[in-house]
């Protein structure tokens, strides 16, 4: 015959063990879920970093492309200015301005004094 006290003690003991098991399994599952969450966060962070790098490369690509376009535009402008200079410095045009607008004439040899040669 088990006394009532003993039965009560046994019940308490069993209950305690059960609670202890539950606690142990809860702590294990917390660990697992923490690990899973960490992995998920890490994956997302990696993905975000990868995405950021891609976008950054794209952005740099656009910037380079735009700089090259600008460079090309400036080169074109430079070329146009050179062509304009070449057209404006055509000897026929200069002579026409010198003779007709400025009233200049070609000097005779007697009018030429060579200081250095």
């Amino acid at each position: 015959m088990i006394s009532a006290n003993t039965a009560a003690e046994r019940f308490i003991h069993t209950n305690f063990l059960a609670r202890q098991n539950v606690r142990r399994s809860t702590s294990n599952s917390r660990k697992v879920s923490f690990f899973v969450i960490c992995m998920a966060v890490l994956t997302i962070v990696c993905f975000l970093i990868f995405l950021w790098v891609r976008i950054y490369i794209l952005e740099i690509g656009y910037q380079i492309s735009s700089s090259l376009e600008n460079h090309e535009r400036l080169l074109q402008e430079n070329r146009n200015l050179r062509i304009e200079r070449a057209s404006l410095s055509a000897p026929s045009r200069i002579e026409d301005i010198a003779r007709n607008k400025l009233g200049m004439v070609i000097p005779d040899n007697s009018q030429v004094v060579i200081l250095k040669w």
């Binding site: 809860t26 492309s65 062509i83 055509a90 000097p107």
Partner: protein
């Protein structure tokens, strides 16, 4: 209750864990599939989507004069194309375009209704036309950027530079000769594109890096202009058919100017006749006339057959050789060799020629560079005609002495006179000084090249002295004199052959003068040829004064001190020296 919920939680966690494991497995297997099994196919697909190949037609290189002034450049222009299937209401589009492009409406409509996916409407539009069409905002039309050749100095050196066609291919002159160098090589570049097809990065290449090489000529733009302007004036005064001038640097063979009148504008080459495009100083040969006498005298002096003071009887203007009569313009009696050249006596020359002998004369003619190409870099070059000695009759031998029965190119003649100017060395003439790449680095450089010695320096000094007398008072080239400078040269007047009658024309002549200045230390050799002058038909009347004007301006431009100035300075220096020595003597 609590226990139940915990068990469920546990289940859920396991389920999520399992989900992640399965998802990871799927991802890993997919990644394996993509990376290992289909990677090559996929990378090709992605390359097609995000990478593109652009074919770059290089910009045609620039042609510069010797002072790096642009003579031929490439200008960016827009060309208009249409995709006929995308054009709505072709009739109204044709009407709009015809008013802007100044082309007939039916012609445009014909293009717009063609069953093709791409048609050119008009290539190389003006900037204004392109702007107007852009503002019209017509569907199915588009622009392609192209380059067009532009010659900023218009007619200047047109026959030397030549021109390029609509597809930027060289068609004439140096543009044709150096076509492959100027055109450059077609390049294909890989570029990244975004989802909208915009280019992200073009390997850092700019249009300046994709271009043909540039060419620097020996031509001086200002000297060329002087030569062309003076030639035009001579043609106008003498009512001549055409004229040629060659200006050379005698010590190096560099061609400073090569002018041919009538001029043509390479920007609108189709508006002038093809025969005007030709560089006749290189491609055409003519009978040199009396300018050739110099070479006979030089040969005879070199061989020691005659001396400048030897005298010949000039038969008072008429001399019969092998049943043919040789005439002088003015009758002369006894003349020294120097005077034969000064007065340009045909009879005197024919007598010297007989003394020299045809074999020797032939050898010297060839040594002076006649009868073969000079080797100048040009698409076509004539070699002229020198008859072989065994084919020469007594009369022809005499005639060659005064420049008949032989043909030379103007460039050959200028080179031969340069040989006398520089002390007897025949130089190879050249137009191109150097070829440079887009970074300005020299790819190829032409340097003066001595072909061979023709005559000794002593002979050239004697010939120079005689040629100076030609330009002195009483000489045929009197009008070639340049105030302040000593000039050496020779006039020439040759009759042209009438093709229909195969005999010399009494009306058609070629008047010429070739010489160098300053005579004792030559800086330039100039040849002036006036073809078929109607007035002032002799070389001494029209070519010599043209030479004089040209020389004066060119020598001034080159900052060459007049001989008179030098003499004055030398005299002053000597006087100062005498005074200072006397001062020293006096203590």
């Amino acid at each position: 209750m609590k226990l139940k919920s915990r068990t469920e939680l546990k289940k859920n966690i396991r389920f999520i864990g399992l989900f992640f494991i399965v998802a990871f497995f799927i991802m890993a297997s997919r990644a394996y599939f993509l990376q290992m099994l289909t990677s090559s196919q996929l990378s090709k697909r992605i390359q097609n989507q995000y990478k593109s190949r652009i074919s770059f037609t290089p910009r045609r290189g620039t042609i510069y004069d010797r002072n790096a002034m642009e003579l031929a450049v490439s200008v960016d222009v827009q060309s208009l194309f249409a995709r006929p299937h995308l054009v709505k209401d072709a009739k109204s589009v044709a009407k709009k375009l015809s008013s802007v492009l100044e082309t007939s409406q039916t012609e445009i409509l014909k293009k717009l209704t063609r069953k093709k996916s791409f048609v050119w409407i008009k290539r190389k539009l003006t900037p204004l036309q392109a702007e107007k069409i852009t503002l019209l905002k017509i569907d199915g039309l588009g622009f392609v950027k192209e380059t067009q050749r532009f010659y900023p100095n218009k007619e200047l050196a047109g026959q030397v530079i030549g021109f390029a066609g609509i597809d930027n291919q060289g068609l004439e002159g140096l543009e044709l000769e150096y076509d492959s160098i100027l055109k450059g090589k077609q390049r294909e570049l890989h570029v990244d594109r975004d989802a909208l097809g915009r280019y992200l990065f073009i390997e850092g290449i700019t249009s300046d890096q994709i271009q043909g090489h540039d060419i620097v000529l020996t031509i001086d733009k200002n000297i060329q202009y002087i030569a062309e302007r003076e030639l035009q004036a001579a043609v106008s005064i003498s009512q001549a058919k055409s004229a040629i001038a060659v200006v050379m640097e005698p010590w190096t063979g560099e061609v400073l100017a090569l002018a041919i009148v009538p001029l043509f504008n390479p920007n609108q080459f189709s508006e002038s006749k093809p025969e005007i495009w030709r560089n006749r100083a290189v491609t055409d040969a003519f009978e040199p006339g009396s300018t050739f006498k110099t070479f006979l005298v030089a040969s005879a002096l070199e061989e020691g057959i005659t001396e400048p003071k030897d005298i010949f009887f000039c038969e008072n203007g008429s001399y019969r050789v092998a049943n043919k009569t040789i005439h002088d313009l003015h009758p002369h009696g006894w003349l020294t060799v120097a005077r034969i050249l000064k007065y340009s006596s045909n009879i005197g020359i024919s007598k010297i020629s007989r003394h020299l002998g045809k074999e020797l004369f032939y050898q010297y003619i060839r040594k002076f560079g006649f009868g073969e190409e000079t080797g100048i870099q040009f698409p076509i070059e004539a070699s002229g005609f020198v008859p072989l000695p065994y084919r020469l009759s007594e009369h022809t031998q005499s005639a060659i002495g005064f420049g008949q029965g032989i043909s030379v190119t103007p460039l050959q003649l200028a080179c031969a006179y340069s040989a006398i100017a520089n002390g007897g060395l025949l130089m190879r003439p050249y137009f191109v000084k150097k070829i440079i790449d887009s970074k300005g680095m020299t790819v190829q450089e032409n340097v003066p090249f001595i072909l061979h010695r023709v005559v000794s320096e002593k002979t050239t000094l004697t010939v120079k002295k005689i040629l100076k007398s030609v330009v002195s008072k009483g000489g045929t080239g009197e009008k070639a004199a340049v105030a302040g400078f000593t000039v050496a040269g020779k006039t020439g007047t040759s009759q042209k052959i009438e093709n229909s009658k195969e005999r010399y024309s009494s009306k058609k002549t070629v008047a010429s003068f070739v010489g160098f200045a300053p005579a004792d230390s030559p800086r330039i050799t100039i040849l002036v040829i006036i073809d078929e002058p109607q007035r002032m038909t002799y070389g001494g009347e029209i070519a010599a004064p043209t030479f004089s004007r040209m020389s004066r301006l060119i020598l001034n431009y080159l900052h060459v001190a007049p001989d008179s100035t030098l003499q004055k300075i030398y005299k002053e220096w000597q006087e100062t020296k005498i005074i200072s020595s006397r001062v020293e003597e006096l203590g």
